[in-house]
Amino acid sequence: MSFKRPRASSPSSSQKRARGAGGPGKYIALGTELSPEEDDDGSFVPVWKQTVTDERGRRRLHGAFTGGFSAGYFNTVGSKEGWTPKAFVSSRSNRNKDATQRPEDFMDTEDLAEAAESRQLETVQNVATIGRIGDTQNDALFGLFVTEEETMGVKIAQKMGWRRDQGVGRKVRRLAHVDDGSAISKDAPSAHMFAPKDSRVMSVAQGQVNRKGLGYKSEARLGTIDAKDKEDRPMLALPFFEGSAQSPAPRKAAPKKSSFGVGVLNDTGSDDEDPYELGPKITFNKTIGKEKKPKKPSKFAKAGDRHLFVSKKAHGKAALGISYDGKLPLRGFVLATQIVDLTSKRKLPPPMIPPGWQSSKSGAPATDAQNYQSVADVAKSSTLDAHARASLLGESPLPGRSVFDFIPKEARDRLATLTGNVNLPQGLGQTAPEGQQSAAKAQPKGLWSFVPVLDKGTAAAALAKGATGWMPYAEDLKKRARYVGFLELRAGQKTDLPERPDEMPVSDWAKELQEFAHAAEVFKPTTGIMASRFTSSTASHQIGSTDSGNTLLRKPVAKPEDPADQAAKLGMYGPMTRSSFPFHPSRLLCKRFNVKPPPDVPCDSAPDAGDYSSKSRTEEAVSKSAMDRMLHEVLTKGAPTLQRPAWMNPTAQERVPPAAPSTEHATVDVDTNEALTQERAPEDVFKAIFGDDDDDDDDDE
C-alpha cells in the first residue's frame, strides 16, 4: 500500500543558510533554524495554508473547500505515480530480499480480504449421506460430497454407542492391530473387545451410466475416471470391482509400453495408467487436500516390505472367500468373479402379448370397414345443396347467386356433358327475381352486378343512424338520397335497382355504390362503450337537417338549456340570471388585498402553499368551515345569503364587512395590531436586557 505523504519541507535551505552563516565564523548558530513555513508559534496561518493530517502524517481534507476527504491518491490506492516509489538497495552483505513483487503488494485490505475469501473451497451443495462421516480421509472421491455436519443417522448411531471409524455391529474379541509396524504381542490375551472393522458400504453407482459415444476410447482420454479409480484402488478399496478387474482375464497389451515420452520415471507401476494423462499424479491430491497417498508398492518394492493394504495379488489368491465386508460369504453363496455390470442398464424386451388378448380399455370402437364411408361419399349422397347447408347452419344467405341456380336441369346436364365436369352444381331452374324477369331488360340485370354486397344488419344500422343522428353527404342532398336508397335496398326495404342519375355513367354509378357500401361500413353506429363516448356533431347535423326535406332525418333533441341562459336571451337580467356559490380565497390573497378573510376560510391554510384551487378548498375542512359559518350566522342574526354583501354599501365606512362581535369567536382585527399598539415596556426592562451593549457601543464611539 502506498499513501501520499506530504512532502517534508526540506530543512536543507535553512541548514545551508545556518552553515553558510557559520562558515565565515562570524556567528555561531546552535540548533536548527525554524523554517518560516514551519513555525508553529501560534501566529496566524491562513486557512488555505493549514493542512489536516492523520496520525501517520498523511494529508487529509484537501480540495473542495477543505471538505473533500480523500484517502490515498484521489481516493485510489497508491500515489500519483501509481506505486510506491522505492529505492533499490542491495549490497553484498545485505542482499535485497524483496526482489519479486507479489500481487499482494498492490492490494489494499479490501482486496486482500476478497482474495482470502475466494480461496476457500466450497461445495456447491451440501450432500448428506448417512454413515459416511469422517471417511474423507481415505476416500478421494466421496470426501468431496460429504458434508461436515452430522446427519441425524450419525447422531442416532453415536447415541447407540457407535464411534467414528468403527464398523457397525457387535464387538469382536480380537487382538489389537498395531499399525506402526512394531511387533504384535502375541502373548497378550485377547481380552479386549474391539468394534468390528469399518467396512464400506457397497457403492452401487446407480447414477453413473457410462454411456460413451461412438469411437470412444477410454485409454486415449485424459484423466479418465476409470484410470484414476484403478490408480486409487487401494484407497477406494472397492474389492467388489477389484476381484473382477483382477480376474484371470488376459491383460491387454499396455499401450504405454509403445508410447513415446513415457519413461521409467513416469511409470508408477499401475497397469492401466493412461500415459497421456496430464501432469504427475500429485496434482490430484493437491486439489482435494487430502493426505499424501500411502506409498504404493512399486515394481521395485522389496518382498519384505510391509503391506498396509490388501494387495491385488494377495486378494486374488487369499481372499477367495471373503466378501466385501471381510466375512465369508453365506453358505451356499459364491463370491462372484464376473463383473456385474450394474452401471449399465439392461434392456429387457417388452413382455409378450398373449395372442388373443384384447384390452378392456380400448378407446374408439372398431369401425367396420365395410360400413366405412368417406366424407366425399357422404357428400355425394347428400341431397343438401350449399343454400340448404347454410340455412341449416344458420348462416345468412349470400346475396350472390350462381348461374346454376337459374338454369334448368337439362341445361346443366348439357353443360356437364360438354365440359366433362360432373361436379357442376345442380341446376335449380329458379325463376329470376322480380324486376329482371324480362329478357328485354338485360341492362338492369347486368347492372345488378355492380351493386356491392352489404350486410343487411350493417345497412339497417347505417340507416337507423341516419335517422337519429348523422349521415354523410350533407353537402350533396341528391347523393344522400341515393345513399339512403342503397341502404334501403340492402336493408331489404326496397328491391329495385338503386337509382342512377341520367347524366352519370355506369362506371361512376358503380363507383358511387362501392363508396356507399364503404360509407355504410364506416358510419354504422358505434356500439357499447364507444357509443357512449361520442356524440354526433350538432353543427353539421343542423346544416343537414335544416335544408333537407328527407323525412328520415329528424331534428336532434335540443339540449335542455340553462334557464339562466334562456332568461339572458330574453333580456330578463336579474335574479333569474344571477346565482352565487361560495369560494374560499386563500389567506395570502386576502392579505394581499388587505381584507379580512371570510370566516369560513380554514385557518390552517398555509399562506404560501402555492396553487390554491377553490375546489380543493371547498372540500377541505368541511366540518370546520360549516361550524364557523353556523357560528357566524348565529352571531350576525341572519343567514349570510340574505345578508346584503359588504360591497353593496355605497360608503367606504360601511364597506368593512360586518365583523363578528368579538366573542369567543377568534377574530383578527386588521386595523389594530396589538403588538404595535401595546404600551411600551418600562425603560429599565430594556436596560436590563440591552443596557450593556448600549454602554459598550457608547464607549466604543
Binding site: 344571477r578 388585498f593 379580512k596 359588504a646
Partner: protein
C-alpha cells in the same frame, strides 16, 4: 352632458401589427403604452406625436413620440396594465405567461408561467398593487404574488367553462368575464362568487368608479351596463352600425362614467351616453375622423385587419385613445 373629445390630437405609429392593448400611464396619464401583435410593447409620449406623424422609412428610426420599446414577448401582446406607482407594468399575450416589467430598465422583473393557454388579460390588484390577476384562454383566472418570488399563483379560479376573456379588479373583488357567457364576481371578503349570465360570450368587462355598475361587452353587438347589486340590466348600448360578433373588442367607461366607448369589428369607434343609451359619436379609426349619419362601414377594402380592438380613456384629462388594426393608435382630444 359634457362635450366629448372628438378631435384627433396624436397618432402613435410604428407598430407592424394590430394593436391589441393600449393603456395610459398612472398618475398624470401623460404616457401611453401600446401592445401589438408584432410582439412589442411601446411607450409613447402622445404630446410629441402629432396626428400627421408617419412611420419613418427606416425601421431603426424611432417614430415620433416613441420613448421606449419593450420586447420580450414571443407572441402577440394582448393586454397591458400599469400599476399605481407608475414604475411597473404587466403585460400578457400569446406566450402563456404574464410578464412583469420595470418601466425604466425595460426588463422583465418576473415572468409567471402556469397558464395553459394565451393570457387574455392581466391586471394589477390588491393593496398597493401587490398581486397580478390574469385571465387566460385556459379558462382560469390566476392570481400572482408580486411581493414574493413564488413561481406559483396564490390562487387559481377555475370555475369558468371557457376562455376567460377579461378580468377586472375592484376593491376586493375580482370580476372575470368569460366566453361561456358569464361574468363571475369573486368577493374575497364574503367568500362568495356571484355569477351573472349574459348569454353571449363576454369580451370585455369594466367596472364603474363607484363599483356598482359593470360594463360588459358581448359578442351580440351589444354593450351592457349591469347593476352589480342585483344583476339587472341597467342599459344596453347598441347601434345599427355597431358590429361586434367575432372579435374581442374592449369597451370602457369615460368622462367620469358618463359615456361608454367601444371599438368594433369594422374599424369604427362608438360613444354612447351612459344614461340615455343613445349613440353620441361614431369615429372611423383608420381615417381619424368622426363619422356622422348612417353612411358608415361597408369599406371592406381594408380587410379584416380594420378593427378597433382596444380603447382607453384618460383618467385625468378629456382624452382617449383607440388602437386599431392598422397598427396605429389615435389619441382623441378636445378641440381647444
Amino acid at each position: 352632458m359634457p362635450p366629448f373629445p372628438t378631435k384627433p390630437i396624436a397618432k402613435l405609429t410604428g407598430h407592424n401589427g394590430i394593436v391589441h392593448a393600449v393603456a395610459y400611464s398612472a398618475g398624470s396619464s401623460s404616457y401611453i403604452l401600446t401592445g401589438s401583435a408584432d410582439r412589442t410593447i411601446r411607450l409613447y409620449n402622445p404630446q410629441k406625436a402629432p396626428p400627421s406623424s408617419v412611420v419613418p422609412s427606416s425601421s431603426a428610426a424611432y417614430p415620433p413620440g416613441l420613448i421606449n420599446k419593450y420586447s420580450a414577448h414571443g407572441y402577440e401582446v394582448l393586454s397591458i396594465d400599469v400599476n399605481e406607482a407608475n414604475d411597473r407594468f404587466v403585460s400578457t399575450g400569446g406566450d402563456k405567461s404574464v410578464f412583469f416589467w420595470d418601466v425604466q430598465t425595460a426588463q422583465t422583473i418576473r415572468r409567471w408561467t402556469g397558464h395553459a393557454g394565451r393570457v387574455n388579460r392581466g391586471v394589477f390588484g390588491g393593496d398597493g398593487d401587490s398581486v397580478v390577476v390574469s385571465a387566460s384562454f385556459d379558462g382560469t383566472v390566476r392570481i400572482w404574488d408580486v411581493k414574493s418570488n413564488s413561481y406559483k399563483p396564490i390562487m387559481t379560479l377555475d370555475e369558468a367553462k371557457d376562455s376567460v376573456s377579461d378580468v377586472a379588479v375592484f376593491d376586493a373583488e375580482i370580476i372575470a368575464g368569460s366566453v361561456d357567457g358569464r361574468v363571475r364576481s369573486y368577493d374575497l371578503r364574503m367568500g362568495m362568487c356571484q355569477v351573472d349570465v349574459i348569454g353571449r360570450p363576454v369580451t370585455s368587462v369594466s367596472v364603474s368608479k363607484k363599483g356598482t355598475e359593470l360594463l360588459v361587452s358581448s359578442l351580440d353587438s351589444t354593450v351592457r351596463l349591469m347593476d352589480r347589486t342585483n344583476g339587472q340590466l341597467l342599459k344596453a348600448y347598441r347601434d345599427d352600425a355597431f358590429v361586434n360578433t367575432d372579435l374581442r373588442v374592449r369597451s370602457t367607461l369615460g368622462l367620469n362614467d358618463s359615456v361608454v366607448v367601444s371599438g368594433s369589428d369594422d374599424g369604427m369607434v362608438f360613444a354612447w351616453d351612459l344614461l340615455e343609451g343613445d349613440c353620441l359619436h361614431k369615429f372611423k379609426h383608420s381615417e381619424m375622423r368622426e363619422v356622422r349619419g348612417k353612411g358608415v362601414g361597408g369599406k371592406e377594402a381594408k380587410g379584416k385587419k380594420d378593427v378597433v380592438s382596444a380603447v382607453a380613456f384618460c383618467k385625468s384629462r378629456k382624452e382617449w385613445a383607440s388602437a386599431g388594426g392598422d397598427g396605429n393608435v389615435v389619441v382623441w382630444g378636445m378641440d381647444g
